[in-house]
Symmetry: C2
Subunit: 338 residues, 2 copies
């Protein structure tokens, strides 16, 4: 099938390519009549200006790349949706990259994206703490990067985060008020900034309420479900905690399954609370107490931030941080008398 392009369309209309081109751009002057005529014909012949040619010419892709650790997760789905709405409203498109929490993949994606394919990146960092010199040396003015949620502290980029420290503190305090004395904390990666912040809130709450901080009760989990299941069961049996605070939704699920298997009752013997944006947390057995991040808002703000950078590239190097607030939602998993 032979190509259909602006030249063909121009021929069909007995016009020059420049006139046709102008019909598709807003600024140029062109008579309303010819514009109308061109657009009608274009629609009829199913013509769309070639995106690659346009962008090569304009040096703009009108595309935003989103890099996330995982996709099958209400939180990231909602963030992406938030980004998507803003982007769509400004006629930008979305490219999605999933790292599976692999830092090498993340790096490869970012490196690749410097080919002009996207005008900017919105990213939640992968789980591994690593050497960021490569990332640090990238020309972020050329390809702006906005972090959300999981950030690398040593990279100078704007970021959208939530008040994780406070939330963790409150969640831990909530468990303490419910009578917990031995609260385990399940982390995904102690070294990632978000891991550290969340853990600190937990630790400080324990200290504030004069509970011992037991290193054994701070568990570093992995990305493998099977492995986590083993780790959690072992922990539950050997350390006999009366509360569990998980830094990530899927660890709460793993805890639930472990308790089912071991016959531990929630919240009777063990109270559970978790960071989670699960929309059906209330339908779980028992309903899951959560710290719920404003996921869609985070996406929206991250996208807005990126568009602000497009307008003022100097912002790309700022460490500007927008902190949104999560909600602590108490449900049955953490409260006998709920």
């Amino acid at each position: 099938m032979e190509p259909f392009n602006i030249k063909k369309l121009a021929q069909a209309l007995n016009l020059s390519t420049s006139t046709v081109s102008r019909a598709f751009r807003d600024n140029a002057d062109i008579s309303a009549a010819t514009k109308e005529r061109i657009l009608t014909m274009a629609r009829e012949m199913n013509y769309q200006p070639n995106h690659y040619a346009s962008n090569l010419r304009e040096q703009k892709s009108r595309t935003i790349a989103i890099i996330v650790p995982e996709l099958a997760n209400d939180y990231f789905s909602q963030v992406i949706h938030g980004i998507e709405r803003v982007a769509r409203a400004r006629d930008h498109h979305i490219l999605i990259y999933v790292t599976d929490d692999d830092y090498e993949k993340e790096l490869a994606f970012i490196r690749h994206l410097h080919n002009g394919r996207a005008d900017g990146i919105i990213m939640s960092a992968s789980g591994e703490a690593n050497d960021h010199t490569y990332l640090k040396n990238l020309p972020h003015q050329r390809l702006p990067l906005v972090f959300f949620d999981r950030v690398y502290e040593d990279i100078a980029c704007p970021r959208i985060t939530t008040n994780d420290y406070d939330s963790s503190f409150q969640a831990t305090r909530h468990l303490i008020k419910q009578g917990c004395k031995r609260i385990a904390y399940l982390a995904v990666n102690k070294n990632l900034s978000i891991g550290k912040t969340r853990m600190q809130g937990y630790i400080d709450a324990l200290l504030k309420y004069k509970l011992p901080v037991d290193d054994q009760l701070i568990i570093d989990c992995s990305n493998s479900y099977a492995e986590n299941s083993r780790i959690i069961k072992e922990m539950l049996q050997q350390l006999q905690p009366d509360g569990v605070f998980t830094s990530v939704e899927r660890l709460a699920f793993a805890t639930y399954y472990a308790c089912y298997d071991l016959g531990i009752s929630i919240p009777g013997e063990l109270k559970v609370i978790s960071f989670s944006s699960l929309e059906i947390a209330a339908l779980l057995n028992p309903s899951l107490s959560t710290i719920t991040q404003p996921a869609a808002d985070i996406g929206r703000e991250a996208a807005r931030m990126l568009f602000r950078i497009f307008e003022d590239p100097a912002l790309a190097g700022s460490q500007e941080e927008l902190v949104l607030h999560s909600r602590l939602i108490k449900r049955h998993s953490s409260a006998v008398d709920f």
Copy 2:
């Protein structure tokens, strides 16, 4: 910041652009030494061949567009992940478009994509039944389309589906065997092919087991949560069904919430089963019986199909259908004696 391109790199290396270009392509002949030298320098200077220029030149985007009705849904997340893995392995990229079940948006996306931005589309159709003449007249040889799950029957494209009729039949039979006499069926869109197929399995099972088919018990729901909630509560109170079969996950959630509010016990007074790929169905209260589609497999097969079309464009117009099998997973929501 001034552009950095193949010319600059060539200059820096004292080579011609053609030689540099060759270093990035596999086929061309070039001495191992210079290739090495070029790639090293490229890495150092953070050079990536401009995607738009390459694609303009090659008339290929190495990009697949995915169009889905919604994103915050385990099923679509898993499908996308399945597609993504295949695409990534073949060095292709993923563009995501969310229609929010709006046929106009869907059409706009497809129309837009004819600008060369993607080499093919994988799509699950939006909920509304409509006039497909526009879609029908598109040159699918130029931009191949593969349907998954929700298809338009009158469009000649390959499709990946699941055995929905059988699954519906089995699910309904399961409820009947559990003693249900009045089973409601909650549909999202009776007119969409997938809606029809699933509904037919339900109806045929009722007929087979000599239960009356009551039109009142076949409910067409909407995309608004609030509205569905109202519809479902009304239905539960006025029609007093003893079983509910929902064609879509979110209707099962709405049913759960409705039952909580109305004090109807599941499965005691009402048994529930649903199409759903929710990974934590077992954690619900009560655990939810599901028909679970092989989401990741569907994604993988859809992507493979698209790559086959790339190799043999004639396939684009075939109605080839690959039918995968869902699993019926019985849990507490449908079985007292589970």
